[in-house]
């Protein structure tokens, strides 16, 4: 069947004219173009999210001092109530940058990179599909994402500024800020989120349908590359966890714009004035609905990253991934458990000891599959003749960084220790270790690894290694001190970086050492930003000037995405694809090369690590 389909494809294709600019690049339904659109847009948002944080880090290191260069521009762009004429950030601006940094990084940068960019570009190639199952929905998914991004970005310029109630938008705070402006930044945030959730819905339905329906002949479930499994579980998380946030968003929009009080309790008094509302709402309800999304979201942020790292580690250790099946089952367990741990974000809300105990138990349980996956990746390194190219450096760097992020999460999962650590810089350090040197390193690894497939050229190795080395150092200088600050009791979301709580004669407080760490962190953050310049230049420069690849499979890899022309044309494969073996058949005894592609008929019975060939 596959054969006939592909034959038809060829005759069919020859009648087509080359698509023009609009059809080919802007309104394309080709999964690879959509993937690249996602990648470029999301990388820009990643940079923008970093920029917001740099502004905040200046304020934290030098509270009340004008932000150099950018301060005056901010004052011009956003008005003097946001940043003074000299360029000092206002508390409102700080709050809105904080809220938007989180929102942009999570919903507009990392998730779109992992699922929109890598999921779109790589996954269909890895399963031997000609495209996604629903190409037009795929295009719409990007368009919804783009509109959502525009709405979020434009919210900086509405009167009162962008949303400033944290990326979590807790009610009642989110409903009572900017009361003078309607619609205000929070309204934009909610509408932007509804667009992003729609985009995610279309994307996840597409990814799941594609994996279930369009696997090539012979590509059974246990022969899927681990990256595809990661996308599969992630697809379910996005599909099922996002709608409750959409519901919550609708309810909060009703609260903010139509006078309902779903999240506003009876007797709410703001700035000394009782609010004219019906009351009877529950602030806890918002938190439940929000975290019902936002905890699975954490695994959306990490699972595809693990998938990318797994591909690169198998390829560069030149041996099969250790514990492939355990990892598959672990990711399914992880996906399931991630739906029943959300309230560990809410231990301090007074929701009750019994509920807290339940969520503490499930939280400890979910660390097991995470550790299974990480350990399997670590053991995969054992005994391999490792090639330390740039993608591999980032992939290997991911392991300890994610390890630190994961292990420092345990004290937060325990009810008792969380009471001390909650809402402190310790939490910031913890989840940034997971997402920044964790997931973002995996994203860089993936970009360096699949770049030759998309462009036909390698990115520069030397500057890649510089990028890795500097990023690794500065990431740790940024996030490691945060653990110390948090343990010392420094709260997150403080405009002056805790200076108000400085030690004074006879009064215990934050010691000068802890406060001075703010400067260390900030300068490391500025340096991290500078360390990204080699990457940005490398990324564009290599399109035209990078080292040309000499074959379609430059890394000598086994998975199907390397069996296409480079870059793959519309419809991807030029020959019928049939799969004969698992995804990581490296260094098979008796095989002339040290890799055996999944679709190489070879001597299917003997040339495999599997004892028996599953059909």
């Amino acid at each position: 069947m596959q054969t006939t389909t592909l034959k038809e494809t060829h005759t069919h294709d020859s009648h087509h004219e080359e698509p023009g600019f609009w059809q080919g690049y802007i309104f394309s339904t080709d999964h690879k173009v959509v993937g690249i659109q996602y990648a470029v847009t999301a990388l820009l948002f990643l940079l923008f999210g970093l920029f917001l944080m740099l502004m905040m880090r200046w304020q934290l290191a030098h509270p009340g001092h004008p932000v150099p260069v950018m301060g005056k521009i901010l004052s011009q762009l956003l008005g003097e109530d946001m940043a003074s004429k000299e360029g000092v950030m206002s508390p409102d601006l700080y709050n809105s940058f904080g809220a938007m940094h989180g929102t942009i990084m999570v919903f507009l940068a990392i998730v779109p990179l992992l699922t929109g960019a890598f999921g779109n570009y790589v996954m269909p190639l890895q399963i031997g599909a000609p495209d996604m199952a629903f190409p037009r929905l795929n295009m719409m998914s990007y368009q919804f994402y783009f509109v959502g991004g525009v709405v979020m970005f434009s919210s900086f310029f509405v009167p009162g500024g962008a949303a400033k109630s944290g990326w979590t938008s807790y009610s009642p705070l989110a409903s009572v800020t900017d009361p003078g402006h309607h619609p205000n930044g929070q309204t934009f945030w909610l509408i932007g989120m509804i667009f992003l959730i729609t985009s995610s819905l279309l994307g996840s339905v597409n990814i799941l349908s594609t994996i279930i329906q369009l696997r090539a002949k012979g590509l059974t479930w246990m022969r899927l590359p681990f990256f595809v499994w990661a996308q599969f579980v992630t697809g379910f998380l996005l599909l099922l966890a996002f709608p409750p946030l959409e519901a919550a968003g609708c309810l909060q929009l009703m609260d903010n714009s139509f006078g309902t009080s779903f999240f506003l309790p009876t007797g709410l008094v703001v700035s000394g004035h009782p609010l004219n509302i019906a009351g009877g709402g529950s602030p806890l309800l918002w938190q439940h609905l929000f975290w019902f999304l936002a905890h699975p979201e954490v695994y959306v942020l990490i699972l595809p990253a693990m998938g990318i790292v797994a591909e690169i580690i198998a390829n560069n250790t030149r041996k099969p991934l250790w514990g492939y099946k355990s990892k598959v089952y672990a990711s399914m367990t992880l996906g399931f458990l991630s739906f029943i741990v959300w309230a560990h974000h809410m231990y301090l809300t007074g929701m009750g000891i019994r509920i807290a105990t339940f969520f503490q138990t499930t939280t400890m349980m979910i660390s097991i599959p995470s550790v299974v996956i990480l350990t399997a990746l670590l053991i995969s390194l054992w005994g391999g003749s490792i090639r330390f190219n740039t993608p591999m450096l980032f992939a290997v760097g991911f392991l300890p960084m994610f390890g630190i992020g994961g292990l420092t999460g345990l004290p937060l999962g325990f009810n008792a220790s969380d009471i001390q650590l909650h809402d402190s810089y310790y939490v910031i350090g913890h989840f940034h270790y997971v997402v920044a040197p964790g997931t973002i390193f995996a994203i860089f690894a993936g970009i360096y690894y699949w770049y030759p497939k998309a462009t036909g050229r390698f990115m520069n190795e030397f500057w890649g290694k510089v990028h890795f080395g500097l990023s690794m150092i500065f990431m740790n200088f940024i996030f490691m001190p945060m653990f110390i600050q948090g343990l010392a009791g420094m709260s997150r979301r403080m405009y002056d970086g805790g200076a108000t709580y400085a030690e004074m004669p006879g009064v215990p407080g934050l010691s000068p050492f802890v406060l001075n760490l703010n400067k260390v962190i900030s300068y490391a953050a500025f340096s991290l930003a500078i360390a990204q310049i080699p990457f940005i230049i490398n990324f564009f420069w290599s399109i035209k000037h990078g080292k040309k690849i000499t074959s379609d499979n430059p890394w000598d890899a086994t998975t199907l995405e390397w069996q296409t022309p480079t870059p793959p044309g519309h419809g991807n494969f030029t020959k019928p694809i049939e799969v004969f073996r698992g995804p990581y058949e490296y260094s098979v005894p008796g095989c002339p090369t040290d890799f055996l592609p999944q679709n190489d008929p070879g001597n299917a019975k003997t040339l495999t690590h599997e004892h028996t060939v599953h059909r």
Binding site: M1, Q2, T5, E8, T9, H12, D13, A129, P130, D131, A133, F134, P135, L137, L201, S204, V205, N206, L208, S209, I212, Q213, L214, L239, L240, A241, F242, P243, P244, E246, A247, A248, C250, L251, M254, F258, G259, T260, S261, F262, T266, I277, A278, G280, G281, S282, L285, H288, L289, F292, H570, G571
Partner: protein, 257 residues
């Protein structure tokens, strides 16, 4: 380029792509409405005694709408079955009943909404409470005219008797201490009612637009690619059945409980 299984079924899953896609989409929809129903439960359980209204909605209109939607679901399935049996004209006939039912549903729903927005509870400065539908023609800047009754207390407003003697009530504007209609901001019951039925109405509108598009403007495909056309009808029908199913939960939750 052809994407496999757009029309024919894949052997191991037994599905064509769109059917799987719509089932996944419906799973997501279950979570959306599930979250709203959960919110309903949490807010109702947490409400202070006497603050959750009863008998505010006319269950007869709700029941009528339920019957209408069930009929539309049945005709939708009969239409699809007839299409599969090769009778395009019968498909068109039954599907038009589906659409008429949907429009009737929307009509009744708008009538209910209209009533709620024009229904006021007025507290007078002397403490009396009036409750009824505003008479817009007679209401002026100085006086408010209601077609309603005088409940003895707020408790009666929250759970009105099934039959009340309605009469014309005229209230001087200067005597009004507070007035509030039965719109979404009235309380969480009204808020949830409008939010959930409103979201459901959006689904009805979306569903009927798709069914109409397949029925009318896109029906040319019936001749060029009949299998794919039947699949489209089936997939839209799955969504339509889901929308009806949501109503079967909304109706008892708001009208009966």
């Amino acid at each position: 380029m052809n994407i496999p299984y757009t029309v024919e079924r894949r052997e191991d899953t037994g599905l064509y792509n769109a059917k799987l896609g719509v089932w996944l989409f419906l799973a997501s929809e279950v979570m959306l409405f599930g979250a709203l129903f959960s919110s309903y439960i949490l807010l109702r359980v947490g409400a202070d005694a006497g603050t959750w209204p009863r008998h505010w909605l006319d269950y007869k209109l709700g029941a009528l709408n339920t019957v209408i939607l069930i009929i539309s679901s049945v005709t939708n399935v009969i239409a699809w079955a007839n299409l599969k049996l090769g009778s395009f004209s019968k498909y068109r006939f039954y599907q038009s009943i589906t659409m008429v039912c949907a429009v009737t549903f929307l009509g009744i729903k708008s009538y209910e909404y209209y009533g709620k927005f024009h229904h006021y509870t007025v507290t007078l400065k002397d403490g009396r409470i009036a409750d009824g539908h505003i008479q817009l023609q007679e209401t002026t800047k100085d006086k408010l005219v209601l077609d309603g009754y005088w409940p003895a207390s707020q408790a009666v407003v929250m759970d009105p008797p099934s039959k009340v003697e309605e009469s014309k009530i005229e209230i001087e504007t200067k005597d009004i201490a507070e007035k509030h209609n039965y719109g979404p901001s009235r309380n969480n019951f009204a808020g949830l009612y409008f939010t959930m039925t409103g979201l459901h109405v959006l689904h009805i509108i979306g569903g009927i637009l798709v069914i109409f598009a397949i029925w009318g403007p896109l029906s040319g495909m019936h001749k060029t690619d009949p299998d794919r056309y039947a699949n489209r009808v089936e997939v839209a029908g799955l969504f339509w059945s889901f929308v009806d199913l949501v109503w079967l939960f909304i109706f008892p939750t708001f009208y009966l409980l």
